[in-house]
Symmetry: C2
Subunit: 357 residues, 2 copies
Amino acid sequence: MGFSNFMKDAIAMAHGAGGELMDKLIKNSVLKYLECKGSSYDVPLSALDDAGVVEDIVFTTDSYVVKPLFFPGGNIGSLSVSGTVNDLSVIGAQPIAISTAFIIEEGFSIQKLEEIVKSIAETAEQAGVAVLTGDTKVMEKGSIEDFVINTSGIGKRNPLLDRNIEEVRRYREFDSRWLLDSNLRDGDKIIVSGNIGEHGIALLSHREGYKFGTKIKSDAAPLNGLIEKVLETGGVVAAKDPTRGGLANTLNEFKEKSGVGIIVREKDIPIPEGVISACEMLGIDPLEIGNEGKIVLGVVKEKADEVLSEIKKHPLGKNASIIGEVDESFNEVILETTVGGKRILHKPMGDPIPRIC
Amino acid sequence: MGFSNFMKDAIAMAHGAGGELMDKLIKNSVLKYLECKGSSYDVPLSALDDAGVVEDIVFTTDSYVVKPLFFPGGNIGSLSVSGTVNDLSVIGAQPIAISTAFIIEEGFSIQKLEEIVKSIAETAEQAGVAVLTGDTKVMEKGSIEDFVINTSGIGKRNPLLDRNIEEVRRYREFDSRWLLDSNLRDGDKIIVSGNIGEHGIALLSHREGYKFGTKIKSDAAPLNGLIEKVLETGGVVAAKDPTRGGLANTLNEFKEKSGVGIIVREKDIPIPEGVISACEMLGIDPLEIGNEGKIVLGVVKEKADEVLSEIKKHPLGKNASIIGEVDESFNEVILETTVGGKRILHKPMGDPIPRIC
């Protein structure tokens, strides 16, 4: 077997990066074998949404292999709780409990473990969820790098969803009970809840010792409070947190699953100066960088301004912006650049910064 | 800082082995910070039972770092599904869905991944649960050994529990809604559902190339069907799967959490000849070896024979046996040896065979 064959049959870093290659792996090597049979699965695995739903219980899982474990703005503990709370919230759930499963390298500092656990406790408290169950495994020195964690989470259907959906139905047909990636329709507005690119750049600059990123902190935060505010206002049809693969990946997921086109305007996408300059220096696209404290919403156009102003009132939504809209006359994600040109915003092959979560 | 200090402050293999050292780590470095506040948690994290319960949703998590990934009787995929299904079932839940989160080493064979996924699918089908949500992460070559998986699971309260508890209450007071480690009382019989030690010995012999274990296969299997049969019969007060730390650990967990003494008779504990000879050769105690397809039950004495005969009818319970009883006149686990002596069966410090799950 030649080298190229070997590579084709082997896992690459990009297979875990949330983009095109990971999509293919999941579809060809996982979904092919796993199927939710029966009708009780409101949102099955094959939806590949942020969480699955069975009998109105919302369920999600994520492993965190972030490097380094501690970074400006958080650590693997706060990150994992935020990520799981957000995955539950963006589908329309109220998070009620999470699990924490540690895999620890032999020789790892117990003091560092405690710092991580403290951070888990603080973030869980902030989000109003309990750690209900857990697990601890140890691997021999050299078999695992430092520490990884899996957090899974369960939630129940947010009672505010009914009110939100009622509001959607004042303006258009809507037949979903959840905020799915597949719910977007012509005319819906796309809102992002704040600055893009901070988590990835904070991590990269800390990891590599780059000076440019010294003022940039990870945005990792639990967003369930913010999402509750938005559901109270109503009119939201879809929500997603732009983690691995960044905004470019999220918009392409929306596009694919809803079967629509999306146009976004570069000038309206909030990107901090520090992220822009870091990205220019490194030749990476800020739209492909993972975030851990942001949501992207699809909102019926009649409610978009109201939802935006509600988000902006929240401490985690100050820089929110309407960045574009759904257009069913085409089936691409189009970026209108600041200089007025248009280009297709493709799904990233992988994340330009590996192991950010 | 001297060497001994360094070791004291660092994670050791035994911290992940399910025994005394892991207990201390969890209590001092995890539970100290994590608390389920409020009254909606029927079984909180601090119960350290096989699963947690909130609003009658049962929730559990386990990471699997087993070495090697494929072994006689199963692989990491079938093992992880069985383990999670069993953790839900032994507390009294009907498993309804599981999650699978893969962490894969760069370069890992996609074909092996698919074999594992197929095995997950088969075992989930056998147990009647769906894989509802998942995650895939990749770490650089050398950062993680091959492949680890986390499976979490959710279940709902088994409707047969009410009937089971009614049966318990015909004979004694019982104020729990779940099959908890803390439910044992004077006179309850202890039943084990079959042969002890197979999983650990199968793994060890395959791993190290020992000849003695060639006929021993892992017992990994989902036990929810067997447990349903037992609940139909009724009279069960507690159940636990004797995984890391084996039967010795399970009995000591029962003892500690119920605040009772337990006496078991060596001659009644089913241990296959191959396990005994392997253990003698290696100088390890079969009672400390992890199992992945067995349950240990506490049953009111009036129902013990009936429950036993029901278990024996099930393909996974053929070698079941009543191995002892609860005695509140002392507070130890006592083993009556085959030659008639008595010794205290201590909680293992760790598992004699590392990374069996």
